[in-house]
C-alpha cells in the first residue's frame, strides 16, 4: 500500500487539476469534454507517474491511461462531434481519420511496456513512464491543432519529450543517437517555425490579419502573397519532413530507432511521424487554396520518390535489423508523401496507409525488440537461428515483414494497391508509379535478406546462453500478435466507419469547388 500513497503536494496538484477541469466544464465545453480529455488525460497520467512511488507498479499507469485514451478516441471515431471544439483546436475530420490509430498503437505498446520494464527492473522508470504518457498527450494535441502555432508547439513538445526515451538504455551509442536526433530534429523544428512565420507574413502582406488558424488561412486563399506562401511551403515541408523522416532529412532515424527501446521506436515510427504528416497535409490544403496546389503536389511526389529510392538503396546494404526497420520507415514515409501528392484518391489511400503502416510497424518493432533481447546482438553477422530460440517472435517478425512489403492479405497491400492505381490514373503520374513499384521490389529484397538471415539457420553458441534469460512470456507476445491481427483485419474486412472517416477527411482537405 505504501507505494500507492500520495504525498500532500500531489493531492493539492490533483485538486487544482480537477478544479481546472470543472472550470472548463461549463455549458459550451460539456459537449466537447471528450476532445479536451484526449489531451488532458494522458498529461494528467504523466503528472501522476512523475510522483508515483513504486517502481514496479508505475508502468501499469501506461496501459491504464492508454486504454482510457483509446476508448475516448474510438468513441469519437464512431460518434464524432458535429463541430470541432474551436477554430484553434478540435477533433476535426482529419484528426478523426488518423488519431485513433495512434491511440490503438499506444495502448498495445504500453501493454508491452509493462513486461519490458519488468525485464529492465534495474533501471528507474519514473521519467520513462511519465514521458511516454506526455508524448501521447502532446501527439493528441498535435493531431487536433487547427492553428499553425499550436501545432508547432505540440510537435516541439513531442520532440523534447522523446529525448529521454531515446537514451533510456544509457549506453554511449544511445547518447550519440540522441545528440543526432536533437541536432537534426531541432533544426527541422526551427525551420518549421520560420515557415510558420513566413505564412503569417504572407497573410499579413496579402491584407489579412496574420491569423494563423488553418480556417482563416484557407478563407484568405488566393489573397495570400505568393512568394511568401511558397517560401513557407518549402520551409514547412522541410521542417515537418524532418520530423517525418523524409530523405534527405532522415539521417537521425537509423541511429535513433537502432538505439531506442522497441516500444519507443514503435511510437516514433507509428505516432510521431503521423503528426508531422498531418501537419504537411494541412499546410498543403492552404497552398492549394491559394491556387498553387500543383506545385505542392509535384514537390510531394518528388520528395516521396527520393525517400523511396534512398530507403531502397540503404535497405539493400544494411546488416542491422533494427536499423533496417528505420529505413523501412523512411520508405513508408516516402510512400505517404507520394500518395499525398496524387490528388484526392491518393490522399484517401495515404490515410489508409497511415493505419496499415502504424499497426504493422508496431508489430515489427515489438517483435524485433524480443529478438534483440534474446540474441544480445543486432546484426545478421552475429544473430542467426532465432526461429529456434524465440519461435513466436520470429514468426511475428516474418509475418510483419511480409505485411510491410505488401503481401496480399494484410492491410499495407490494399493501401499500396490504391496508391499504385492512383498514380496510373489519368490525373496521377505513371513514371512515379513505375519508380514506386521498382523501389518496393528492391525494398523487398533488402528486407527478406536480413530477416531470413536472422530467423533461419542454427543459433550461435553465445546466443544460446543469453537466449534463456529472456523467455517469451505472454506479456511480450500478445501485443505484437494483436497488432498483426489488426493489420490483417484492415486488409480483410475494412470497417465501414474507417472508410467514411477517411472520405470525410479527404473532403475536408479537398473542398468541392
Amino acid at each position: 500500500m505504501e507505494c500507492l500513497s500520495l504525498d500532500g503536494g500531489v493531492s493539492i496538484r490533483l485538486c487544482v487539476l480537477l478544479l481546472l477541469l470543472c472550470a472548463l466544464c461549463d455549458h459550451s465545453f460539456l459537449a466537447h469534454m471528450k476532445e479536451l480529455l484526449l489531451v488532458l488525460l494522458p498529461l494528467a497520467g504523466a503528472a501522476l507517474a512523475a510522483v508515483w512511488r513504486g517502481n514496479r507498479t508505475r508502468p501499469w499507469l501506461m496501459p491504464v491511461f492508454g486504454a482510457a485514451h483509446a476508448v475516448l478516441s474510438l468513441w469519437l471515431l464512431v460518434a464524432p462531434p458535429a463541430q470541432p471544439l474551436g477554430s484553434w483546436f478540435g477533433f476535426d475530420p482529419l484528426a478523426r481519420a488518423v488519431l485513433p490509430t495512434v491511440s490503438l498503437l499506444f495502448v498495445l505498446c504500453a501493454a508491452y511496456g509493462v513486461s519490458y520494464l519488468r525485464v529492465r527492473a534495474e533501471r528507474p522508470n519514473r521519467v520513462f513512464v511519465s514521458l511516454m504518457l506526455a508524448v501521447l498527450g502532446l501527439l493528441s494535441a498535435g493531431h487536433m491543432a487547427r492553428h499553425l502555432g499550436l501545432l508547432w508547439i505540440a510537435t516541439e513538445g513531442v520532440t523534447l519529450a522523446a529525448i529521454p526515451l531515446l537514451h533510456f538504455n544509457a549506453t554511449p551509442r544511445a547518447f550519440e543517437a540522441t545528440w543526432k536526433y536533437l541536432l537534426v530534429g531541432g533544426t527541422g523544428i526551427a525551420l518549421s517555425l520560420l515557415g510558420s512565420f513566413a505564412l503569417g507574413y504572407a497573410s499579413l502582406h496579402g491584407g489579412g490579419s496574420g491569423d494563423l488558424t488553418f480556417g482563416a488561412l484557407l478563407a484568405q486563399g488566393v489573397g495570400l502573397t505568393k512568394p511568401w506562401m511558397l517560401t513557407a511551403w518549402v520551409l514547412l515541408l522541410v521542417g515537418y519532413g524532418t520530423k517525418m523522416g523524409l530523405a534527405p532529412m532522415h539521417t537521425w532515424k537509423p541511429d535513433a530507432y537502432g538505439e531506442a527501446p522497441g516500444i519507443v521506436g514503435a511510437i516514433l515510427a507509428g505516432g510521431v511521424t503521423t503528426v508531422a504528416f498531418t501537419a504537411i497535409l494541412r499546410v498543403r490544403a492552404v497552398v492549394a487554396a491559394a491556387g498553387e496546389g500543383a506545385i505542392a503536389d509535384r514537390t510531394l511526389i518528388a520528395i516521396g520518390l527520393f525517400s523511396l529510392v534512398v530507403a531502397a538503396l540503404f535497405l539493400l546494404g544494411t546488416r542491422d535489423f533494427k536499423r533496417m526497420l528505420a529505413y523501412s520507415s523512411v520508405e513508408h514515409m516516402g510512400i505517404l508523401a507520394l500518395a499525398a501528392g496524387l490528388g484526392a484518391p491518393g490522399l484517401w489511400a495515404a490515410l489508409f496507409h497511415v493505419w496499415a503502416n502504424s499497426l504493422t510497424k508496431g508489430a515489427l518493432f515489438l517483435s524485433a525488440g524480443n529478438i534483440r533481447r534474446a540474441a544480445g546482438a543486432r546484426t545478421m553477422d552475429e544473430v542467426g537461428g532465432m526461429a529456434k530460440l524465440t519461435p513466436v517472435s520470429a514468426a511475428i517478425f516474418v509475418a510483419g515483414m511480409f505485411a510491410v512489403t505488401a503481401l496480399p492479405p494484410f492491410g499495407p497491400f490494399f493501401s499500396e494497391l490504391r496508391i499504385v492505381r492512383a498514380s496510373f490514373a489519368p490525373s496521377g503520374s505513371a513514371i512515379a508509379g513505375v519508380v514506386f513499384l521498382g523501389c518496393l521490389l528492391f525494398a523487398f529484397f533488402g528486407l527478406t535478406r536480413v530477416v531470413f538471415a536472422i530467423v533461419d539457420g542454427r543459433p550461435r553458441v553465445a546466443t544460446k546462453l543469453t537466449g534463456h534469460r529472456f523467455p517469451e512470456t505472454a506479456g511480450v507476445i500478445v501485443p505484437p500478435l494483436i497488432l498483426m491481427a489488426l493489420s490483417l483485419w484492415l486488409g480483410l474486412a475494412l470497417p465501414e466507419v474507417l472508410s467514411t472517416s477517411w472520405t470525410e477527411a479527404v473532403a475536408q482537405l479537398y473542398p468541392a469547388p
Partner: protein
C-alpha cells in the same frame, strides 16, 4: 527608428561573421551572447518604448525584451561556459569547414541574403528595413556552424544563432501574432534542454571516471 534598427541588425550580421571566424570557443560564446542582447533591445525600438510610461503601457513587449536579454545574454552563455570548463575544451581543433572558408561562406551568404530579400515583397512599414536579410544571414550562419564544427558546444552556438535569425524574422509579425513570440520563447526552451543535455552527458562521463578512481582507492 529604421536607421537605429538597421544599425543593430548590421551589428548582428557583423557578429555572425565574428562567430564564424573564431577558433576559440569562449569568443564564439561571447559573440553569440552579445547578439542575444542586441536582439533583445530590438522590440523596444520597434515599439518606440523610450520612457518609463510607454514601457509600462506595453508591458508584454517589455517582458519579452527582458526575458530575451536575460536568457540569451546571460543564462545560456553561462551554462555553455560551465559546460566548456567541465569538458575541459577550449578550441574546436578540427572543424570540418575551416575558419577562413567559414567566413567566406558567411560573407557570401550575407550578400546572397540581401539579394534574395529584394525579391520578396514587403509591407510599406517594413520597406528599407534589414530584418529579412538579417534573418536569412543569421540562419545561414547557424547552418554553417552546425555543419562545419565538430564540438557539441560550437554546434549549440550555431543552433542559437540560427534561432536568433528566426527571432529577427518574428519581429516582422510583432503586431499580428503575440502567440508566436511565446512560441519563440519555447524554442529557447529547446535550447535550454539542448544545453542541459550536454551537461548531463558530461556529468555522466565524469561520474564514470570518479567511479573508477574510487575503485582503485578501495583496492589499495
Amino acid at each position: 527608428m529604421n536607421g537605429t534598427l538597421n544599425l543593430l541588425i548590421g551589428l548582428t550580421m557583423g557578429l555572425n561573421l565574428m562567430a564564424l571566424g573564431s577558433s576559440r570557443i569562449p569568443s564564439l560564446i561571447r559573440a553569440m551572447s552579445v547578439q542575444g542582447v542586441v536582439l533583445g533591445v530590438m522590440p523596444l525600438l520597434i515599439e518606440h518604448l523610450f520612457g518609463w510610461e510607454a514601457m509600462l503601457r506595453h508591458w508584454p513587449v517589455l517582458l519579452v525584451a527582458v526575458a530575451t536579454i536575460t536568457v540569451k545574454g546571460i543564462v545560456i552563455p553561462r551554462l555553455l561556459n560551465r559546460a566548456m570548463r567541465a569538458a575541459n575544451i577550449d578550441r574546436d581543433m578540427e572543424p570540418l569547414i575551416g575558419y577562413v572558408p567559414s567566413i567566406l561562406l558567411g560573407a557570401g551568404g550575407t550578400i546572397a541574403a540581401m539579394a534574395l530579400a529584394r525579391s520578396l515583397p514587403l509591407l510599406p512599414e517594413h520597406a528599407g528595413s534589414l530584418l529579412v536579410p538579417g534573418a536569412l544571414a543569421s540562419v545561414l550562419t547557424g547552418f554553417v556552424l552546425l555543419i562545419g564544427r565538430t564540438k557539441a558546444i560550437s554546434q549549440v552556438c550555431g543552433y542559437l544563432i540560427l534561432e536568433n535569425g528566426i527571432y529577427l524574422f518574428g519581429l516582422l509579425l510583432i503586431h499580428a501574432t503575440p502567440l508566436l513570440v511565446e512560441a519563440g520563447i519555447l524554442l529557447d526552451l529547446t535550447v535550454g534542454v539542448f544545453v542541459i543535455g550536454i551537461i548531463v552527458d558530461h556529468i555522466q562521463r565524469a561520474f564514470d571516471s570518479l567511479d573508477t578512481r574510487k575503485l582503485t582507492v578501495l583496492r589499495e
